[in-house]
Point group: C2
């Protein structure tokens, strides 16, 4: 009743295990007649090679890994992750390679997870949520585990890296707002130790120069709301806010509206990442689509090349596109009336 093994197939075909193996792998020539017998036997027995045995013998798991250190709640509301995974799976599906996913809560668990990957769970990993000076870069190099970094890592590394130009869309967005007469343009960034948050924030600062009005959020709706309240309470409040993701932008919009500001007439708002619902909001939200699926595909292809023995390499993928929508489509207001934050938010900022 238990699964047939390669030996059963070999016996049924009247050959040895080695012949069966070679018939499938092609590592040695096998005569057509023998091959046919082997395949027929395998078919009859419904033999499926054990992937654990194969992984052990061939020293390759036929799987790639992703380990994520995140609060599951954040994962659940993240628009990037599922799209990225979809892309990964797209290029994986063609090969017969699986994706091993591990979500962990602590640094220790993360190290163990990567070690487990290196110890046979996966042939390589793709590294997300890259930090500037990320400890995982030397760590993975030390493990000797092929890895591709997603994001513009700036330090020394012998790992592949899939880079995206986060700066260009930010510059374009600023230009777009300037054309409409905005001069007080604020930016609510993501955590600045993430390379992509940092890149966006830096591009913003360079674009607006001395007029920079920067706040560091954490990508959650709560921080979007709180920082918007903060900005709108300034004496010389911004007339436009660039948020580092759509979640914060939406929360910010809804706060502004609740305080009586019209978007975009009194306040222009733009997000980042182009959540699939953003086009359906009122007003539709200007955003930047970043094609996570495409990056998933590219990163995976690169990783598979690394695993196959290719030398690590940087690849740039040009995947950002401005989605200009109504939330930024109005001339800048002539005078910007200041807004006092809702009482409960005051406290939040003590």
């Amino acid at each position: 009743m238990s699964r047939p093994t390669i030996s059963d197939v070999a016996r049924a075909a009247g050959v040895t295990k080695a012949t069966v193996s070679h018939a499938y792998s092609g590592h040695r020539p096998i005569s057509a007649a023998t091959k046919a017998r082997v395949f027929a036997a395998a078919d009859a027995l419904r033999w499926v090679p054990s992937s654990s045995a194969r992984a052990l013998a061939a020293r390759r798991a036929n799987a790639i890994g992703v380990v994520l250190r995140r609060d599951p709640a954040i994962l659940a509301s993240d628009t990037f992750f599922p799209a990225f995974i979809a892309g990964v799976e797209q290029t994986l599906a063609e090969r017969e390679v699986a994706l091993v996913l591990q979500v962990v809560g602590s640094r220790g668990a993360e190290e163990r997870a990567y070690q487990a990957m290196a110890a046979g769970r996966a042939d390589g990993v793709v590294v997300l949520d890259l930090h500037r000076a990320d400890w995982r870069v030397p760590f993975l190099a030390g493990l000797g585990l092929p890895a591709v970094l997603l994001g513009a890592y700036e330090g020394e590394t012998r790992l592949s890296c899939v880079r995206t130009d986060d700066a260009a869309p930010v510059r374009d967005l600023v230009a777009h707002l300037r054309e409409r007469g905005h001069t007080r343009i604020a930016h609510v960034a993501g955590p600045l130790d993430y390379v992509h948050s940092y890149a966006r924030a830096r591009a913003y600062v360079r674009a607006v120069g001395s007029r920079a009005l920067l706040r560091e959020g954490d990508f959650t709706a709560g921080s979007g709301r709180a920082l918007t309240a903060d900005l709108l309470a300034l004496r010389d409040r911004p007339t436009a806010i660039l948020f580092a993701n759509d979640t914060m932008a939406i929360a910010g919009t809804s706060y502004a509206q609740s305080r009586g500001l019209r978007v975009p007439e009194d306040l222009a708002v733009a997000g980042f990442d182009d959540d699939h619902l953003s086009a359906h909001l009122s007003p539709p939200l200007t955003s930047v689509s970043t094609d996570p699926a495409r990056r998933g595909r590219v990163a995976t292809a690169r990783l598979l090349a690394d695993v196959a023995g290719d030398d690590p390499r940087d690849v740039a993928v040009d995947c950002t596109a401005l989605r200009l929508r109504a939330s930024t489509d109005a001339p800048a207001p002539a005078t910007a009336r200041r807004t006092t934050p809702a009482p409960e938010l005051e406290e939040e900022f003590r």
Copy 2:
């Protein structure tokens, strides 16, 4: 330079491999002194047991699988999936079990994926997107692979099943609308061969009886828009529409608004699944949260029990909650003016 093995550890500790193994597994008592030496040696060598070797010898992968047959594009915009995975990982994180994910495009690939899971990639699987009379149920049973079904499967099965009451929230929603005076309540369902779509649709039909106005969509924005157009063009058009997910509801709302209807004054709209943005739309969308993360946790716990040798069992999880918001919060309109569909949609329905 290559990874140390259990033999290296054994040699360093002056014992045999078996002792090292037992020291960790506890399958045999090992004296404290020996254990200490073993652990010290392992530590010094930075030994991490090979998971492929372990999987082969112990006939257990320490991983569970999910195989999904979906268009990656759908995956990317699905709100259920990431939240569910987050839940799965939550209960997995406590053990050192990994999740193996495989997204496939065809029935054949799906069978191969499940076979690979059974052949050592995973110790069990959780089955999503359950159909009525799903071929995977007998197939998995035949494979002898522990599995838990997510959804109210009605056929014969020796597999565990995590059930949710989809009917109650639909009934409540209908009651809620009736209280506001609605008598023409339509339902845009998901594909009716999915058990959850079917359950929702059936609950709807039972609740409204002979006044049922049912359309079958496919969970995409496109179908939400098209079916809304269809319904609003009826002579006696509905004054309220229940959609089987938020994506369709949002697309439907935006269509209705574009045709000059106010939501909720002229048309009440409710969704399902409670996308994290739904509360931020204008108007905020009434929906039903279904706590996918919780179901992920429960399903995983159940699967791990099955894998450990427990008998398959059904578990009911009560995880739905009505989120009543503005999109349904108005009295039903006295007279419902009929809307003609936008021209391009006419064609779509030939």
